[in-house]
């Protein structure tokens, strides 16, 4: 018998597996075809080119109800990436602070941080999103409360308005920009910042060279500070920077930048929830570095801050970063809960309104999965590259 021969055994099993697989695919596919035929439906992606007919409240690119469903999907993708990006940043900040403080030798702070971690880790993120959204909508005042002589709410510093529809902050404008379009002016500012970045790199290279030559590392803090701020501020002044302060006009605040309630709820909830997990990773990463390493470094006479920077962190990061990256993936996936608060991410546009208005359930869900799969593949490529790059050399 074939399965008794090691050479053919695995082949036999694989053929059986292939048959079972093919059979189940055939079964599912056949059901699908039959069901679709019975319902008079067919699979087609042409709806993507049709007019969407609905409006979206947060768009990063030009979009209105005459745009296509495809464009609505792209709006959604950008919104997903937007909230995921900001949530990754803030979650990392929360996580690192909480993780490090949890190891603090201040007992009270350490305990408070463990309470934070335990509370946030053990309650579903959906509940957090809803709670924060509820704070946004039910606790903050509506724009109406700012109106009239006996207004019950007022703007913070006359610059920021915290309303139940979102937070309005002043937006910068250039009066006498060097270019006509605002975008180009901003690109110039960004170009300056990029320039500053490279300049600080040069400064630290210079400091390192100096240290290598003389042994003393010159302090670069003030130089860097100047490099970061002076050119940009000068540029902005030249271009006539002015702030547009949000003001109540009609039903809503107008002017300034609006950060919508759903965005804030989602962003904040994802950050603070994932932050708790990241805190655990950070703590585990630091604890994974044996006490011997710290002792050896101290015994060599290194100061605590240097022990941290030169010995503990470089090693801890190798432990921390891989789980950190999977937390980023989790954030991206969890951002699909946007649907619970009406944030217009990809799940809400393509997987929500488009799906419902066109009835193209199968197509929309497939596209949706494709999008998330692509993201997760990209993230795992990044992770593998990183892991290979920092792997500790062993025998």
């Amino acid at each position: 018998m074939l399965i008794y021969d090691t050479r053919y055994r695995s082949l036999t099993f694989q053929v059986i597996a292939a048959l079972v697989l093919a059979l189940s695919f055939w079964f599912l596919g056949n059901n699908l075809i039959q069901n679709l035929r019975a319902a008079g439906l067919n699979i087609s992606y042409s709806f993507l080119g049709e007019t969407s007919g609905y409006d979206i409240n947060q768009v990063l690119i030009d979009y209105d109800s005459r745009s296509t469903h495809l464009r609505a999907a792209i709006v959604g993708i950008l919104n997903t990436l937007l909230v995921a990006f900001f949530a990754c940043i803030t979650a990392t900040i929360f996580g690192v602070i909480a993780g490090v403080l949890r190891l603090s030798n201040n007992w009270l702070v350490a305990k408070v941080m463990s309470v934070y971690v335990e509370i946030f880790r053990n309650i579903p993120v959906l509940i957090w999103i809803i709670i924060i959204f509820t704070i946004m909508t039910a606790v903050l005042p509506g724009p109406r409360a700012f109106r009239g002589d006996n207004a019950t709410a007022s703007m913070v510093l006359d610059l920021f308005a915290f309303t139940n529809r979102g937070i309005y902050i002043p937006s910068p404008h250039f009066e006498s920009g060097l270019f006509d379009s605002a975008v180009q002016n901003w690109l110039l500012v960004i170009a300056f910042l990029v320039g500053s970045f490279f300049a600080t790199r040069r400064v630290s290279a210079w400091a390192t060279a100096k240290q290598e030559a003389t042994g003393v590392r010159p302090s670069t803090f003030w130089i860097n500070l100047a490099i970061w701020f002076v050119p940009v501020i000068l540029l902005m002044l030249i271009m006539g920077l002015s702030w547009e302060v949000p003001a109540l006009k009609g039903f809503n605040f107008a002017g300034g930048i609006k950060v919508g309630g759903p965005l804030i709820a989602l962003w904040f909830a994802l950050s603070i929830y994932t932050g708790a997990f990241i805190a655990e990773n950070v703590r585990a990463g630091i604890q994974a570095i044996s006490k011997g390493q710290t002792e050896a470094a101290s015994a060599l006479g290194l100061r605590p801050s240097r022990v941290m920077n030169l010995v503990v962190l470089p090693q801890a990061l190798r432990v921390i970063i891989p789980p950190l990256i999977s937390q980023y993936l989790n954030i991206t996936k969890n951002s699909s809960l946007a649907i619970a608060v009406g944030y217009a991410d990809i799940t809400a546009t393509l997987g929500g309104i488009t799906l419902n208005q066109t009835g193209r359930a199968i197509e929309c869900v497939l596209l949706l999965m494709l999008f998330y799969l692509t993201i997760s593949l990209l993230i795992s490529v990044v992770m593998n590259t990183y892991n290979n790059a920092v792997k500790l050399k062993e025998r």
Binding site: E212, V216, A296, A297, L300, G301, Q315, E394
Partner: protein, 263 residues
Amino acid sequence: MSELAIEREIDRSKMQVSDEVAIQISGMNKWYGTFHVLRDIDLTVNRGERIVIAGPSGSGKSTLIRCLNALEEHQQGQIIVDGTELTSDLKNIDKIRSEVGMCFQHFNLFPHLTILENCTLAPIWVRKTPKKEAIERAMHFLEKVKIPDQANKYPGQLSGGQQQRVAIARSLCMKPRIMLFDEPTSALDPEMIKEVLDTMIELAEEGMTMLCVTHEMGFARQVANRVIFMDAGQIVEQNEPEEFFNNPKSERTKLFLSQILGH
């Protein structure tokens, strides 16, 4: 117990002990919580002295030498290292740590840095040595411990014996005036023990002040000026190695020696 080190012929005449005091401990007491680990320790070590500390497990040997460079703090008594008193003053601690090198049982090399970087790290950041000079000095000491060719490898790629020798070189790069060893060979395979002991003997020959917690009695016989026997947090006996081994005075020491030399 490996007696390999004995094979090496050494020139005791080279090893000088001066009258200058390197370490002075008086009336030192330490507690872990309510547990009294070190009791009334009095010890004076002269410059150039090589002291071996022995004693049963848990007797406080490690704790004692870890107090000497402030890895542990003591609660009572005085420790003066190289003229500087160990207090909670951070400046003093820093000063003492840069004078005192330490080798751990598990080497504690930094696995993310090459051997060379391990050796230059502290000189560059603590002593503010220019990098070139630091590298030269590191190579010098790596040659001394006979592994200059491994300089660009990572600790994980070296054998245990080689790693311990790197650890010694790393300490030496700080030009310490005193070296502390905490069971430097007990995590090693027998062949590797010899490599490390050889390196330590060489150091001894150059007149380095050394405190060494070890059970390598061959090493003790060969290089120590003094053997200190600790039990239950106290120094129970101290003597020259020959006297100590051949003619132990206290009951506790006799028992310990009979166990340790017995098999």
